[in-house]
Amino acid sequence: MSELDDRIKQSLDRRAASLSERPDLDGLNDRIARRDRRRMRVTSIALVMALVAGPVVGFLAGRSGTGAGPKSDVATGSNDGVVDQSSGSLPTIPFASAGGGTDAADPNVDVGLVGASVPLAKAFVREVDGATVRVYRAAVEAPQSDGPSWQQPPAYCVTNGLVQADVSTEDAVGIVTGSLSAELRDGLVFGTYSPIGVAEGAPLWVVVAQAPDGAADVQATFPGGHADEMEPVDGVAVLIGPATLDPSDAQYSANIQLEAFDADGGSLGTSTAAFDSTGLAYLVGEYSHTAGFPGGSLADCFPSQQLPPPGDEQPADPAAARAEIEGLFGIPFSERTDEERVADIDDPTGMLETYERLRNSSFASDVAGSRTVLEDVVFVSATRAATQYHIELPGRTLGPEYGEVVFVDGRWKVTRASVCQAVSLAGVSC
């Protein structure tokens, strides 16, 4: 090692040793929680676009007779601009790889809301205002459904499609990824908004919109009044407009309106997405809405933390049914065999293997000393009941947790989905 090498090493060692930093798990915990909330918010923003674009029927009726309203500022000569259109079946992205951030090989890759792990199918190419928009699509596999049925989110919360728009102009290129929902409510428009070309100094808004059934035209109106519109291709429209984003402008804000029209020019709904710039290239979506926003519906997308109301039909002998259900709880894990546990599950497929994984998980010692304790039961029908319980572990208690039991083969059993949800708390999947 040369003298210079020695000097470098000594300098670096001295400098590194001057820093005393201790692990901060609580701080990390907070950051991870914030990250999770941001992801939820991104999903929520897209979802809100679906929700707020839905008009009150009366409101729509009032407008539908007046046509689509002023469109004079629509991008000139680009009423549609679709120059190529493909058809055929879509590839399916496994749910396990959807949701972004699963590419372990490259820490730089973080694909956002939904990541593509299979080649996408080309959907259409659009040329508008000097930009070429290449649109690709895939279906997204339905998620594994754990947990009781009354906690399952409605279809409009479930992403079932991916749209990737590759946008290129003379000065910039960018990719915007949007998601599609399994269902749109009441003729709603679903939009994913993103800017491209900010760092290149040639910013452009890109909106990936999922149009409702019956939509013949989708229009986005950007800051400054410029508008773009197109007839959706298989329910999808990709709209672009000029942006004035400046990376140094910390106070930036912009509103974009999205509207869908039927074949007669009647509005199917309108929404406004508002964005604030909080950094060089990061936009945090906030949203406002027009009349007709079904406030509170977002909460439907998150599991309820309350038992559902009782059903109209109840077991013939509720007390006896409850006593039998209580017998499914309370037994320490270590006092039963896997076979005995599996016998209490309505669909035992693969559950022996699941318990094997649970006992070999990092929770093994906790699992061995655990037991579930029933807190409450609500019969949602004569043969199905929602349960609230907690899990006693050595030194601590987890809960409340929620599950479901069903009356099959002459006795009450825990549903497989409920057990799968419980074991997922230990990082084990069915």
Binding site: L4, D5, R7, I8, K9, S11, L12, D13, R14, R15, A16, S18, L19, E21, R22, P23, D24, L25, G27, L28, N29, R31, I32, A33, R35, D36, R37, M40, R41, S44, G101, T102, D103, A104, D106, P107, N108, D110, P247, S248, L280, L298, A299, F302, Q305, R357, N360, S361, S362, F363, H390, R396, T397, L398, G399, E401, L425, A426, G427, V428
Partner: protein
Amino acid sequence: MQERGAPERLTGVGDTAPLVKARIESAPLRADVDRPTFADVYRATFSDMVRLAFLLTSSPETAHDLVQDSFVRLHGKFDHVEEPRAYLRRTVVNACLSYHRRQRLHVRHAAAAQPEATELGADEMTDALAALPYRQRTAIVLRFWHGSSEAEIAAALGCRPGTVGSLIHRALAELRKVMP
């Protein structure tokens, strides 16, 4: 999942901290019994990673911040990462590179470029290292402070191993010019 008696409840979009904490402490997220948990990796590598980031950014606060963010990224992918330490090293190096790019952009937008602040433990060699292009500086730090092999440096920088030799050679040549 929530500990009974904890002040927060998991009720929807927010309040995920208890769940996250439980998962941090209970990793591994997959079933490999011998695999270190996320918390193990965090405790074992945190100080090293902060020092690496400090040597690359010259700011203790930024180093702490970037490394915490890097662990957040690792947490989201821990189940899929074969070598968490190598992944972290590359993530931290990339985060520091992004930080430098942002700094340059800020400087461009500022009325006048501001010199880097005098840092903790600064000396002539520190100044000389700070003046190196980022990839050269990273290669030097990983080689001489971290003791990384060329292959490991190449992995962290996302380049071919042969490029690492070239980066170090050019960095040393530059340092020889400026160091008395």
